[in-house]
Assembly symmetry: C2
Homo-oligomer: 228 residues x 2
DNA sequence: GCAAAAGTGTTGTGTCTACACCCATGT
DNA sequence: ACATGGGTGTAGACACAACACTTTTGC
């Protein structure tokens, strides 16, 4: 045990979703100083007896139904003594992902904001949010993390749209389909989507094969020799 | 401000080095309960006014000269309330790398241990160490992180040996050289190493081009279209 | 000359992008 | 018929592993 003071510890989360044609983050308008009125990440103090992951889930429950968060992973722990004016506070940030289409009822002080046009954020929450976006973009390339952003079933062009919004650049439907099929990340459900007003061939309906994060591309240059 | 108790916060580090023909971790034998006599990671309490990174550097200084740690990055923050018997303690773990050849004078309670044959470790330090090794292995593939394990100058076969030890499998000198040269990670110094007793062609001497972590292989499947 | 060690040439494979082309539907 | 998307076929670029072969040294 130790005598001197200890820092307070908060859990925070950048909760991201593709909505309104872009990548958006769930933000919360502060009701007290410091940064009164500024936007900030949801989260709050760590309580005795809980883990950080339990803590962030508990705090998120006040904003969104936790079951709507399809993926949650730890991002980084921030410890600059000046990050909070007037309090010695450590923050552990998480990245949370909510599938497209889910539209949680939000408290009045909470709203979605485009990550590409963030308002002024309290504390170091801007860098956390941008770090979350980078993590997401990287993992879209070599894991099945798309499952946490996509609805349960979707057409390739819907998925293409989603990847393009998350990655911030255009994505080819042709190649997206082939990459994800070759890796066994998505599968054809056998169903088809009726064609729209202007006609066009009905689209096949796909789904992600597993609802848990998996590394699908080992990107292992310098891989083990072919044991022969 | 907040009334109730706060957790204590410690910084820890898995410090890894290739030595004695294998990947080894710097461990410290505990001098007090709990886990008296067991081996554990170096580290200690976070002090007011310092960041976690400053904290781990300060604690490491008691074990090794901090200038000998060529790379340091945050790994993970552990918060299981039961991880420390008798204290509510959060730990933020770092990964530190020390170049081959550096042989720090160690205090008597400190020693290197092969990661593949770890003794029983205190707390959750075993999983931290293994997580550190995994992080290192992954980054060897797509970054220049080898700079932090290699001496300043080296031949390709020395580097091959080093990569093989870190990765845990054989590595081809031929392909290692080509991959790292193609990516511009290493460069030829122009010098040559004299051949040994049994003869053999003198080896060219190489060095890493930058002493800071860089991502060298964007592994970006689904990369942006070729802007035309 | 011969062994030893370093380094290059070359081939084959797999994964990816790009783009041409074919398919199924509505009007 | 023809427009509108959806989907497949295919060629080229690239990075890599594997392995044969050449180079440079000591003895």
């Amino acid at each position: 045990m130790r005598q001197s003071t200890n820092p307070t510890h908060v859990s925070l989360a950048t909760v991201l979703q593709i909505r309104g044609g872009g990548l958006q983050a769930l933000l919360w308008q502060r009701g007290r100083e410091p940064f009164l009125g500024a936007w900030s990440l949801p989260g709050g103090y760590l309580e005795e007896g809980e883990t950080l992951e339990q803590s962030i889930k508990r705090h998120l429950a006040a904003k969104v139904d936790v079951r709507e968060v399809a993926h949650l992973e730890q991002l980084v722990t921030l410890s600059d003594p000046d990050r909070h004016p007037g309090e010695w506070q450590i923050a552990t940030a998480y990245l949370g992902l909510v599938p497209t289409g889910v539209d949680p009822k939000l408290p009045v002080d909470t709203a979605w904001h485009r990550v590409s046009r963030l308002p002024r954020l309290a504390f170091d929450h801007r860098e956390i949010t941008l770090a979350g976006r980078e993590r997401l973009r990287a993992k879209l390339s070599y894991t099945n993390i798309g499952f946490a952003l996509a609805p349960r079933e979707f057409t390739i062009s819907e998925l293409r749209e989603l990847y393009a919004n998350a990655l911030g650049h255009d994505v080819s439907a042709t190649n997206l389909q082939r990459v994800l099929l070759r890796r066994g990340v998505i599968e054809n459900t056998g169903e088809r989507r009726a064609s729209g007003r202007g006609g066009g061939r009905p689209a096949a309906v796909f789904r992600f094969r597993t609802p848990r994060l998996e590394v699908t591309d080992e990107f292992a240059v310098l891989r083990p020799p072919s044991s022969r």
